[in-house]
Amino acid sequence: MTLYQLRNLQHRYGERTVLDLSALDIAHGEIIALVGPSGSGKSTLLRLLQFLETPTQGSLLFDGILSDHALPLEARRRVVTVFQHPALLDRSVFDNVAYGLRLRGVPYGPETIMAALGRVGLRDYARVRAKTLSGGEAQRVALARALVLNPIALLLDEPTANLDPYNVGLIEEIIRGHGTTTVVLVTHNTFQAKRLADRVGLLLSGKLIELLPADRFFNAPLDPRTRSFINGEMVY
């Protein structure tokens, strides 16, 4: 079952084409990791998958629905992103995690919020003002507020970029326990992609070079550029 279906998709900023994907299918419940050098279009792809922007050209189907300005709010609400630099409200950590539920008008008890905070190791931070958090803590709060919404797709942009090894392990454990949630994980860490993903894709200058099951991506890639990227040689 496909959750996302992208066809002949191009996305431009002004004159510049930053994404050019002929076809990309993302299945229900899989973990896809996207790797690629800085500026290759990874975050932009997540923005499209989150419907923050509509593709300049081509089609993006979510669960069979075309992503355009008429995309129903209900569909949009089934996807959540944890951004590279999450923006938190100037409120308590608890309020931040509860925010999505409040926006939806879903009744919730404090234990729901506390459970989500517990999963990211921040149970004791509920009353702390979000503004005072460190980068890594903020990132984990952002993950908790995404998890509490129980999304059908979870988009993660460098979710462990600011974290120490212990918390990286914690977050990876959460991703591994994603259940039926589809996860699209953007990471600069190829080892993380290897540890977590069912399939791994390489983006170079907005093009999807290849998207393969993780073991094949790392052991027998078809494209030489994939191999040199894995080996840490710069590719442009």
Partner: protein, 268 residues
């Protein structure tokens, strides 16, 4: 001990600041003192005074409501959307700020007057605008709205797009994003724009006298009433002026207090 030149510099700064401050504030205090002398409270019961006061408050408040209701969407569009000929529009919006109000009044008269550009249309609708209370509100809105629009536009432009996106990412619909993130974050700029435009409306004279005339109880706002009282009765002119100063000071201080506490963050 500071060196001599540093002393001299400080003395210069203090005396320059003091002189200007005195120049700006002294006349206001003299006026207030004269008003107390002339029995301000007794003047307050005069019908010309109460009528002018009521008219000023009503028209400037209505003008502020109209400005906020129609100006907010305009400011938002200018800040956020691709607007064709944006800089032309912005320059045109700034014009009423720099033009002498008399020019505004004349322009309104030529447009909405009986023989004006829209005169025939208004006549078929059986509407006559000049020299009515409506004309007062129109004149005030015309000269005051740009202050609000420009301030609100800057406010909207400064709202972090990232915060709006994360609200939308967490499932906020467009209205929720606007209501819960954009509006509170732009709130300070919106309020200070409202202060400015309201104060401008309250002090409006030139456009009003040309387009609405000076009919007691109907179009004679406080500034006009002061002008007319000068001819007959200095006492009530002073009283009216003092009241205008006090009201303006009160509202400016009040709104300053409100905006000060709200240099804003999105509210849940």
């Amino acid at each position: 001990m500071l060196p001599f030149r540093a002393h001299l510099g400080q003395t210069l700064i203090f005396s320059a600041s003091g002189a200007l401050l005195l120049f700006l504030v002294l006349p206001l205090f003299v006026l207030l003192a004269r008003a107390i002398e002339a029995d301000l409270l007794q003047q307050l019961t005069q019908p010309t005074v109460t009528q002018a006061l009521r008219l000023s408050l009503v028209t400037s408040s209505l003008s502020m409501l109209i400005t906020a209701a129609l100006g907010t969407p305009l400011a938002y569009s200018l800040a956020r959307h691709k607007v064709p000929a944006r800089s032309v529009i912005e320059t045109l919006l700034d014009l009423p700020i720099v033009l002498p109000p008399a020019v505004a009044g004349l322009a309104l008269l030529l447009t909405f007057g009986r023989r004006g550009f829209l005169g025939p249309v208004l006549e078929t609708l059986d509407l006559s605008l000049p020299f009515t209370t409506t004309a007062v509100i129109m004149a005030e809105t015309f000269v005051a709205a740009p202050f609000f629009i420009r301030s609100a536009q800057v406010g909207f432009a400064n709202v972090s797009h990232q915060l709006e996106e994360s609200a939308s990412d967490l499932g906020a619909n467009n209205w929720q994003v606007f209501r819960r993130v954009t509006l509170p974050l732009a709130g300070t700029a919106l309020l200070s724009g409202l202060i400015l435009s309201w104060a401008r409306a309250l002090g409006e004279f030139g456009a009003t006298i040309l387009f609405a005339g000076s009919f007691s109880g109907r179009t004679q706002t406080m500034p006009l009433a002061i002008y007319h009282a000068l001819e007959s009765d200095l006492g009530s002119a002073v009283a009216l002026a003092a009241i205008l100063i006090l009201i303006s000071f009160f509202f400016l201080a009040l709104l300053r207090l409100i905006t000060h506490g709200r240099i804003g963050h999105p509210m849940l």
